[in-house]
């Protein structure tokens, strides 16, 4: 009898520790975040729970009148709209180029393009801040050599966003390229041979065979990249602190600033929930589009 009971609980002993940690640090926090987004929780409330006031929807209402928040939404939209297609196009192009050979040169190139993806974002952001330096940086030095006036990479509000996007694309290409490469290597060669017999050239083959075979990996990369850009944080945090003039502030950074620099936990939690809902909606739209494509 007892051994029967033991047998039944064995599976749970395997999954329990991981599930407990995930529950405490991922699932329960969602509920807490939702709850405190309806309160004015701040540093005093942290020490004395009786000080926490229920404020209803006022955090959310206030958010949409807060220019800094609206600006951060706008910036995040720019990051997503520019960054996501750019990452997909660049990594797919490089994957197709690398896939055209099998010798050690092409293998080495795989490593070269993947390297930025594994390195630390903070270190990389520090390096790029130096590269972007208006007078000492490498980029303006090179531009000066061909007679182009210095660019305020991180100091010009019109350029700063783009500078961060360039860095983030550089960093994201490697990982997505590997995903595309794995998919490319699974395309049956007979398809290409048949197309060639039909007289299709390289470009036509790419359009009609390669790209359709990559549908699923393109979808996968789109969803994961989309989610990543919605949470764009490390680069603006290290390089610009959201400036100049809030032009690079993202929603994720806005949440951090309000939560941990101003200790407005309730307000920040409301901001994070707006972001969460946006991510869920964008992901659902992607899945719907994917289904529709499949149906056709």
């Amino acid at each position: 009898m007892q051994s029967n009971f033991l047998k039944k609980i064995v599976p749970y002993t395997f999954v329990f520790p991981a599930l407990l940690l995930l529950a405490i640090f991922s699932l329960v926090p969602i509920v807490i975040a939702l709850l405190i987004s309806f309160t004015g929780l701040d540093i005093t409330g942290l020490g004395d729970w009786s000080q926490i006031k229920f404020v209803g929807l006022s955090n959310y209402l206030q958010l949409f009148q807060d220019n800094a928040f609206l600006q951060s939404i706008l910036n995040t939209v720019v990051y997503v709209v520019v960054g996501v297609p750019l990452v997909i196009i660049v990594s797919l192009t490089i994957a197709i180029l690398i896939n055209s050979g099998r010798n050690s040169f092409f293998k080495m190139m795989r490593l070269v393009f993947y390297t930025p993806s594994i390195t630390n974002t903070v270190a990389v952001a520090v390096v790029w801040t130096y590269l972007y330096n208006p007078s000492l940086g490498l980029f303006n030095t090179l531009l000066a050599k061909v007679g182009i006036a210095p660019i305020g990479w991180l100091t010009d509000p019109n350029v700063a966003k783009l500078s961060l996007i360039i860095l983030a694309v550089w960093k994201a290409v490697g990982l997505n390229m590997l995903i595309f490469l794995a998919a490319l290597q699974g395309v049956p060669r007979s398809l290409y041979e048949a197309a060639e017999l039909d007289g299709a050239n390289y470009w036509e083959q790419t359009r009609h065979i390669t790209l359709p075979s990559l549908k699923f990996s393109i979808f996968f990369v789109t969803v994961t990249t989309l989610i990543a850009w919605f949470q764009f944080f490390d680069e603006p945090f290290v390089m610009t602190k959201g400036g100049p003039l809030n032009s690079t502030n993202s929603v994720a950074l806005f949440v951090y600033q309000n939560g941990f620099q101003n200790s407005n936990f309730g307000y920040a939690a409301a901001g994070s929930f707006v972001m969460f809902v946006a991510i869920i909606v964008a992901t659902i739209i992607q899945f719907k589009l994917q289904e529709k494509q499949r149906g056709e």
Partner: protein
């Protein structure tokens, strides 16, 4: 080889090679610049922007430890990285549980695990801080380690791999009277070496690069990790680029070396991931 390649002419192959070489050089240019600048004196950095250092110096690296507190950051980072291997083990256990046992609530629990992948760090950041604060774990190493210890993605990959282990092997061991934990340690883990290798390397890289939790949980410099310390260094020595580049090189170069040594496993890992 009958998958994956289009036939292209020799000339286009060479052309592609040239394009890739140029792009590849641009990809690693920031790392070259970082590494070379870390050996320049601060006067040289402010006066000339030549690529190659004119007077090689390792003072920047020395300063990381004398002016900065990189010795403390390295220690903390190594402790956190070591602890994250406990997390790797817990992921493997959970992956095995979901792969090879049929129990009540299995489907639901696994879906819950996958759902956590969707949750952005910024949403859980504040509540996790409050929870750790309540447990009096803010500003401790344990508090930095716990939130990221297990991960849905790791559990998912272990489950994928272990589902492919034939049931008959496990059954045979049970008939021989082996206990469930004995089977896990002496049968399942050795078979799972490929996925353990990939996950082990990724765990190491993840631990070495840890930034968000240490940033939030550690208020005291004595608990800072390399990432947080480097970010502090940048704020304190805004224009000392030689020092900053030395700090960055110190973080980046070991990871690149590890990656080059183990690249076979990491790249194979991608095929495992994409198969399913």
């Amino acid at each position: 080889m009958d998958t994956g390649m289009q036939d292209i002419s020799k000339i286009s192959k060479v052309l592609i090679g040239v394009v890739l070489t140029i792009l590849g050089f641009l990809m690693i240019l920031p790392f070259l610049w970082m590494f070379l600048s870390s050996f320049k004196t601060s006067t040289e950095i402010s006066l000339s922007q030549s690529f190659w250092p004119q007077h090689w110096t390792i003072d920047n690296y020395k300063n990381l430890f004398t002016n900065g507190s990189f010795d403390i950051y390295v220690k903390n980072t190594l402790i956190i990285t070591a602890a994250s291997f406990i997390g790797l083990f817990l992921n493997a256990m959970a992956g095995y549980g979901f792969a090879k046992f049929d129990f009540k609530g299995r489907k639901f629990l696994f879906m819950a695990v996958l759902a956590t992948m969707m949750i952005p760090g910024q949403v859980t950041m504040i509540p996790v801080y409050l929870i750790l604060n309540q447990m009096q774990l803010t500003n401790t190493l344990l508090g930095i380690i716990l939130p990221g210890l297990v991960g849905a993605f790791g559990i998912f990959l272990f489950r994928q791999f272990m589902s492919n282990i034939p049931d008959s092997i496990v059954e045979a061991a049970r008939l021989d009277g082996a206990g469930e934990w004995y089977i896990f340690f002496h049968l399942i883990l050795p078979i799972s070496k490929p996925v353990l290798a990939v996950q082990g390397i990724l765990t190491f890289i993840g631990g070495w690069n840890a930034f968000l939790w240490p940033l939030i949980i550690a208020n005291d410099q004595k608990y800072y990790t390399l990432s947080v310390g480097l970010q502090l260094l940048q704020g304190q020595h805004t224009s000392d680029y030689g020092l900053q580049m030395a700090g960055s090189s110190f973080m980046v170069i070991p990871i690149i070396i590890i990656f080059i040594i183990f690249q076979k496993y990491i790249l194979q890992g991608f095929n495992i991931q994409m198969d399913k």
